[in-house]
Amino acid sequence: MSHGHSHDGHTHVHDHTHDAGDPLDPVLDLQVEDGALSSLELGRRNFLRAAGLLGAGAAGLSIFSGAAAAAEPSSSGRGRIGGYQWLSGDHHIHTQYSPDGQYRVIDHVQHANAFGLDWMVITDHGSVQHSKIGVEKVNPDIVDARAAVPGTLVFQGLEWNIPSAEHGTVFVHPGKNEVAVLKAFENNYDGVVTGTTANSPANEAVAISGLQFLSLAVANRDVKDALMFANHPARKGIDSPHEIRGWRDAEPRIAVGFEGAPGHQAAGIATPNGPGSGRGFYDNSPSSASFAGYPLASYRTYGGFDWMTSTVGGLWDSMLAEGKPWWITANSDSHQIWSDTSVRGAGSNFATNGFYNDPEHTTAPVLTNGDFWPGYYSRTHVGAEDFTYGAVMKGLRAGRVWVDHGRLIGSLDVRLRAGGDEVPLGGVLTARRGTPVRLVIRIVTAQLPNWSQVLPKLAKVDVIRGKVTGPVSDRDSFGTSDTSVVSTFDVTGRDGVIDLSYDLGALDDGFYVRLRGSDGKRLAVGLNGSGVDAAGPAIDVVGDADPWQDLWFYTNPMWALPRR
């Protein structure tokens, strides 16, 4: 240990070696004041300080080691954790039936299965060609893939051009009407097919009508179930806060969330090894269709996550503070895979045929592609009652969902407890005012290397708490001042089962909690300041964002509300 502090007198319960780094590192040199550090440096210092590794005074974290508990199977092993099978999936995948796609359905399904996904949704772009041809032609490919790869559930869906807004995933439960319902939806409510992409109140109303159509299709038993998630919501600033709230409030059983992390996670890999773009291909700036209130900072990703989710006290939190469900997911948005050795089939004519010919081999890996195969990097884990299509949709709607990148952790079990009762992720716990509330977390660290052949190491877990303040008066608000990181557990060097417990105090007017964890490699002060998020995700560097060197997991929230 070369830096100027000692662990003597600290009550570290974990045994590990700190890689403190360069003694001249300004982050470690307390002669350098906080104000003289960059946001990135201050984020790292805040983390070390909170962990008691910098200066005097440990932070008194209530961290304790799980007693020799047997490691439970990882999420993809389908062992039950907390009574649920945690099924890993991806709801955003394009095939040769998309104008910017390339692969067969079976190419994606085989890879997704090999990379550990239990469920996936095929979501080709809504378009004139797709509404006439693709939506029908893709179905037999999906049916065949279901038979060929029984270990992965394959939903048929659509990437909806939401009228007046961004894209969204729409998908239905398999059944005899799945194509008919999706086709009718696309022909009547897709923004491109119906010419309603432009920003206007009239087009916003078309989006709501589309959600109502899906709701009616379920009510009429045309399909067993249907769900919608908004995709890459902050990418171009065109999903205004009131539109997102509008979808949620119009059809809360259909429109249930948005991508917390977009796909295209390889897009930020530096040239010549990658596209050298923004991570997630987030490299746009405000246009005339953008919501004018969004800051420039909203157009970029932070630790690979969308600004709406990554900002503590940001848009997502402002929605959760209303006390209404809205869930996050993480997906691949696979179109064309980074370093793949195939290209679109020769002689293709998408405009006429509605699909590209099957891919063909090329010798040189294509390093300008920005995507990963489904399951390779991004995963959405759903607590399902069983391994069925219906259970996955039910778990998604319930918000029993956490997400991670690069298989950062093996498994996660989170419960909110009060008065002898408990709820899992997505749950609402009600108890009498004054009842002590406790957050109980069990993490099994990654036991296997990820698909970059590296064993990910979790460094810290943050507890984020927000006050429930009720419905907003301004439906375009995108922030709440009552949400912050309230505790950070340093788990550096921990392996196996990590049990954490956090005392949330006596139940007051109501609050929610959510978790976030990191490999600790890129930390920065959050956009709302140190007091809200001292060591959050750093803004991704344009043209130099190696996704494997910056891994996070996020959970969905749980609420504790007083019983009336």
Binding site: P99, V192, T197, N199, F281, S287, P295, L296, R300, A524
Partner: protein
């Protein structure tokens, strides 16, 4: 977020030249930049040196779109107006705000007037052409950007000031914005410890369905 204090004198800064405007119903940033470059060529032909052209989003007309506002210190208002009319004539629809009022579809006038006022007070706007922009090519330092051009300060999109000594890779494409009277270039971290402007010259035209 702390605001960096600049060396500029306190008080409201107002553009001394009259501000003209042009609306050709441009939808995208790419389109409006093309129109701005046509305007600057026309103004240079008339002998202008210090030209400022900014783009603004307006909500007048059928749907939100981009308009241009223009000031040129060394030309008369009539000369600027003539140049804008000449450029506007190449489009199906155009409205020009000149010294004596607005010419063109009346529903476009309000947006142009609002944009011109915004330009006068440097309240907001994305600045496409500004004095000194032609010097800031390739890689320069952050300090160079403020020394050699009208840019008042360089700031990270997350709010902190950029260090003066850091390399700024301009990509020959700078679109600073007016913030409360100052011309601010927003940047973000880039490869090799440099910074790049927030706005990229060729953003990903994802899925080809949105402008």
């Amino acid at each position: 977020m702390t605001q960096q204090t600049t060396g500029s004198a306190t008080g409201v800064r107002i553009s001394l030249a009259p501000v003209a405007g042009l609306d050709v119903l441009s939808g995208s940033l790419r389109d409006i930049d093309g129109v701005a470059h046509a305007v600057v060529r026309a103004l240079h032909d008339l002998g202008a040196l210090d030209v400022v052209i900014a783009s603004h989003v307006v909500t007048s007309g059928a749907e939100p779109h981009q308009v241009l506002t223009v000031s040129a210190d060394d030309l008369s208002a009539q000369e600027v107006e003539a140049a804008l009319r000449q450029v506007g004539d190449a489009f199906d629809v155009s409205a020009v705000l000149g010294a004596d009022g607005c010419y063109g579809p009346p529903e476009l006038a309000a947006g142009l007037c609002d944009a011109a006022r915004t330009h006068s007070f440097r309240r907001s706007g994305r600045v496409v052409v500004f004095p000194g922009d032609h010097v800031l090519l390739g890689t320069v330092s952050v300090a160079d950007a403020t020394m050699w051009s009208d840019i008042d300060r360089v700031e990270l999109v997350t709010g902190e000031p950029a260090e003066p000594g850091i390399a700024l890779m301009t990509r020959d494409f700078l679109r600073p914005r007016w913030v409360g009277g100052d011309l601010v270039l927003h940047v973000q971290a880039a490869v090799g410890g440099a910074v790049v402007p927030f706005e990229t010259p060729f953003p990903t035209p994802c899925c080809a369905y949105h402008g």
